[in-house]
Amino acid sequence: MDENVTTAVLEEWVRTFATLIEQNRDYLTELDAAIGDADHGSNMDRGMKAAVAALDDAALTTAGALFTKVGMTLVSTVGGASGPLFGTFFLRMGASFGDSDTASPRDFAAALRAGLGGVVARGKAEPGDKTMYDALAPAVDALDLALEAQSQLATGLKAARDAAATGRDATTPMLARKGRASYLGERSVGHQDPGATTVALLLEAATESSF
């Protein structure tokens, strides 16, 4: 578990995430139509397409530069709630890596946790508010736990993916207390949170990449 993660693999992760978002665009929007304003899929797709285009244009050699670019692009192109939230997530990951040339699995996990911290700082979500937090926090915890247990990064990411999926499913019975869905009150119960669904896709993308 000490092998460093290359920037190329990290970039592969981002690109795979973009592909999954594109494939799930309408599904995400449908989820948002039920308890929000029917734009989460198109928001994320617009942003990730822009991020991929930015990566096509620039040859970024460090993890810090890579995630900063992705984060800035999301912030600049998405708008709504998910722009600042996913943007800040990647920006904080970038900041966590700094301009270091190498990225160990622990560095990666730390960056992920920094990203989570950014989401919380920005959106003030608490556990059970029925947001992306409810998928992301369990995923970050699961990865930390796996690495502490000396697992390979790839193994840890599988655990994180499963935790995110479980967290995503757990949002369904929750009553929304943040974001647009909170206006629905009781009527938000029984619907899966779109942002949490996106987070599950992010972790799934990680397991599909060559970490």
């Binding site: 600049s76 192109t77 709504g80 998910s82 207390r177």
Partner: protein, 333 residues
């Protein structure tokens, strides 16, 4: 979907071209989707910007001009603009006296404006204050929600704060006046039909031929209750009563009474509503000092209306009466 548009993806960009062509005294930055005053920045004047998703026209672009906003950022339809836009607008209007951001309380708007303010102070050193409007009494304001939505009060606030800035008050004073307006204003709306987002191509929600959605948001957010369609008199009471109790407004108060159309409702119906509102207020001893009747904060083609009451003192009234010259509000000049 029946709309006078071309490609749904081009609606915002093309409307901005139309605004630019129709109002030669305004400037448009098409890259950043900013409408701004030709004479901005004005040295020593507090700059005021606002912005939000498109689809609420004339809000905010129609309120750019002397005595009101210095710039407005247009997001995609019903999607908050991105921080880059607010940052560019902040730089554009900063005349050295700082910049006020007027933000409607939606998670996305609040976060994007927040990020722009962080970037602005980092990049330019400009002093930025924000005021968030949250006047929609249909939403329970509690730790359990994202808080009340910002709706009709935003229009009145932009006018009043704009006048204060134009008169040379400093940033803290302008922000204070803006907060006073928000604190003293309450709104609630009703939809008779859903809006249709161009990119979606179909109505956001289904409403029966004999139903109305009471407490609806300006993005078609669900309201407090779905009720059978009622006469204007009853609807006015269903909207005004919760507003009156919330602040509360009491006998002897002077208010600006604002009856707003949501986009698909014609003026004749707004006057019928205004008559009912006026009667209720008279019955309560609330004095209507000024009124505004028209479609100023809309929800695309939604049929319906919202009512806003703002409690005013002489200072707010004189700021309301001060000259304004924008596409949508103009007097005294």
């Amino acid at each position: 979907m029946k709309k006078l548009i071309n490609d749904p993806n081009d609606v915002v960009a093309e409307a901005l071209l139309g605004i630019e062509a129709a109002h030669p005294d305004l400037q448009v930055d098409h890259h950043n989707k900013i409408i701004y005053r030709s004479d901005t920045p004005k040295r020593g004047k507090v700059g005021i910007i606002s912005g939000g998703g498109s689809g609420h026209e004339p809000l905010h672009g129609g309120f750019v001009g002397l005595g009101m906003l210095d710039a407005a950022c247009a997001g995609e339809v019903f999607t908050s603009p991105v921080p880059d836009q607010m940052l560019a607008a902040t730089k554009l209007v900063d005349g050295g006296a700082g910049v006020l951001h007027v933000v409607k309380n939606y998670t996305g708007d609040v976060m994007n404006f927040e990020m722009s303010a962080e970037l602005a102070s980092a990049e330019t050193g400009a002093r930025v204050l924000s005021v968030v409007t949250d006047d929609d009494v249909a939403v329970q304001d509690s730790t359990w929600t994202a808080g009340r939505r910002g709706v009709g009060v935003t229009v009145l606030l932009e006018k009043i704060a704009g006048a204060a800035a134009e008169q040379g008050r400093d940033l803290d004073q302008v922000a204070q006046i803006a907060r006073t307006v928000n604190a003293n204003g309450r709104s609630m709306g009703v939809a008779l039909t859903s809006c249709t987002v161009p990119a979606a191509g179909k109505p956001t929600f289904d409403l029966g031929e004999d139903e109305m959605e009471l407490g609806v948001g300006i993005h078609g957010e669900p309201g407090r209750q779905r009720l059978p369609l009622a006469p204007a008199k009853e609807i006015a009471s269903l909207l005004v009563e919760p507003i009156l109790t919330d602040l509360p407004f009491s006998s002897g108060d002077a208010v600006i009474a604002f009856v707003n159309g949501l986009g698909g409702t014609p003026l004749i119906e707004l006057y019928v509503m205004y008559n009912e509102v006026n009667k209720i207020l008279a019955g309560r001893g609330v004095r209507v000092a000024r009124s505004l009747v028209g479609s100023y904060i809309t929800s695309l083609d939604m049929a319906g209306s919202s009512i806003t009451l703002l409690k005013v003192d002489d200072e707010l009234l004189s700021l309301w009466d001060a000259p304004v010259r924008t596409p949508a509000l103009r007097w005294g000049i």
